[in-house]
Symmetry: C2
Subunit: 324 residues, 2 copies
């Protein structure tokens, strides 16, 4: 079995060799720019890993893996416009460096280039793989729309939140694994199970991120603790707290959300105290554990040699092991 870091290097090298037309420069330069910003290349690496697990030819899986990465960066380019984000991986975002129109149109052509790359699979797999890609791509757009809708909505329930993170974050992990498995000649049942594994793992991973924002060790987490609280981001924790709190806790939580001027540290401390009163962390960890369990259950049913399952278990354990 090939090591993940080798697969990541293979992706990095193949991405750097990817050719785009020279002109119009304003259309293709931003694509080269965003693809060169780096990142862990997790999605394409998972696609290659899935292919490798089933004994497939990893080289043959490179174009679809690049397709997933190009698609992912298309969503980042458009999301950054929508979120008005000035930075991406510490560098100026495309719409800031050029302008919104350039970011819209370069993103559009990236989506098309994603399809071109995804088509570089054998004829007998083409339709199946494109169907998965279509469903994944539309799902990610739906997830982004729900996320934007939630920003201005005041009564989101946990079910809606889980659907949103599944679409926005998890389906592309599942889709990448499924496509990789099929290229590695897995049968559709095993590919679907691996897809389920990826989706539940993705949801668990996102829930972990919600928990870490509040309960993470700032030195290990690398982000400001409480950033989600400061910005009133509708995470699992906030939605659940709005559902569970009563009396003064409920009133105080609403008050903190409503304030436009406040001391950030004070707000983080106060909201965290309310979370603690209703045991939010435990609810979130239970939900996360529930999805991790479902991921592992899907994994056990896959028809793979024990070595392969062991690898996937270890990978999932690692992913969900970030320290608090």
């Amino acid at each position: 079995m090939r090591k993940l870091e080798d697969l990541q290097s293979l992706i990095a090298r193949s991405l750097s060799e990817l050719k785009f037309p020279e002109h119009p420069a304003e259309l293709y330069e931003p694509i080269k720019y965003i693809l060169a910003l780096g990142g862990k290349r997790m999605r394409p690496a998972l696609l290659l890993m899935a292919c490798d697990l089933f004994g497939g030819d990893v080289e043959a899986a490179i174009p679809p893996a690049l397709a997933i990465e190009v698609f992912h960066n298309f969503t980042l380019m458009h999301d950054d416009i929508m979120d008005n984000a000035p930075k991406r991986r510490g560098k100026t975002t495309v719409h800031e460096k050029w302008n919104n129109n350039v970011a819209i149109l370069s993103g559009d052509v990236m989506l098309i280039k994603g399809y071109e790359l995804m088509m570089q699979v054998p004829d007998d797999k083409l339709r199946t793989i494109l169907d998965i890609f279509n469903e994944t791509a539309a799902g990610v757009c739906e997830g982004q729309q729900w996320d934007m809708t939630f920003e201005t909505s005041n009564n989101i329930n946990i079910e809606e939140y889980l659907r949103m993170i599944r679409l926005k974050t998890a389906v592309v992990l599942g889709g990448a694994l499924k496509i990789g498995a099929l290229i590695g000649n897995a049968d559709i049942k095993d590919a679907d199970l691996l897809c389920n594994f990826g989706e539940h793992l993705g949801i668990a991973f996102q829930l972990q991120d919600d928990i870490l924002d509040v309960y993470g060790d700032p030195e290990k987490f690398g982000k400001q603790v409480g950033g989600d609280i400061i910005s009133n981001k509708k995470t699992y924790l906030l939605i659940k707290a709005l559902e569970l709190t009563e009396g003064t806790d409920a009133e105080e939580l609403i008050r903190w959300i409503t304030f436009t001027q406040f001391n950030p540290e004070e707000k983080v401390a106060a909201v965290t105290a309310i979370y603690d009163n209703v045991n939010i962390r435990q609810y979130a960890e239970n939900e996360m554990q529930e999805h991790a369990t479902q991921a592992f259950e899907a994994l056990e049913q896959i028809n793979l040699p024990e070595e392969g399952k062991q690898y996937l278990r270890a990978f999932a354990d690692g992913l969900l092991m970030r320290e608090y």
Copy 2:
């Protein structure tokens, strides 16, 4: 042979029956909205017409025809953001009625839905048709980028202008005809010839539009005469005039372009007079005729019964017959 208006009705009916998910509403409502704005549905009708000409099953060509129309409306939705356009077919544009983010994301999902529809073709044609669609789609994005680049560029030549209108307007007509022909079981040589016919016809049509803006009869043309002159739009006429004028004509043309405050009627009259001095209309009509000739030459080489060629000739004549 089926009548064009029957094909247009077929498209209109099929479009109205096209189903999109109910939720998220902000993602799918704008798609239904823009598709309901109407229009002549020329691109999908051409696709069906091409299929019919080669004796193919028009019903089987409906999903790819809808794909072309959905794709076309995706480009309109995104172009309207980029151009800051308040109206489209007399109705509020999507980004004005909702907002830019909704228009970006709904457009993205329309492109994906375009691929879904385009995939509804027989397996043995799938790859060929998607290759054409990819190339067409990327070409249209390139054309839009050139068009935007030209807005702030001062030395565009005629060759660059013709490339821009070919990409932005003509390739999608050629692509629609080619896909329709292939679904109608035309061989690739005939499909390519029909594509050439469509591209040259598209260029001629756009040049006619440039001419009509200045020399059209306002009552028949339905647009304000001289709109392109007032907005300094880099049409064939302006680019050619900048190339050909000398001395005081050249100076005066530059002056009119530079003015930020002016009497519109005066500017239209003055610039038109300069155009007339260097015989711009004749140059533009010659270029238009050159592309019409190339369209007809491609047409003559297609292996089609005389009745079919006759129909295409008549269609092209009609398209290029708008009165001055």
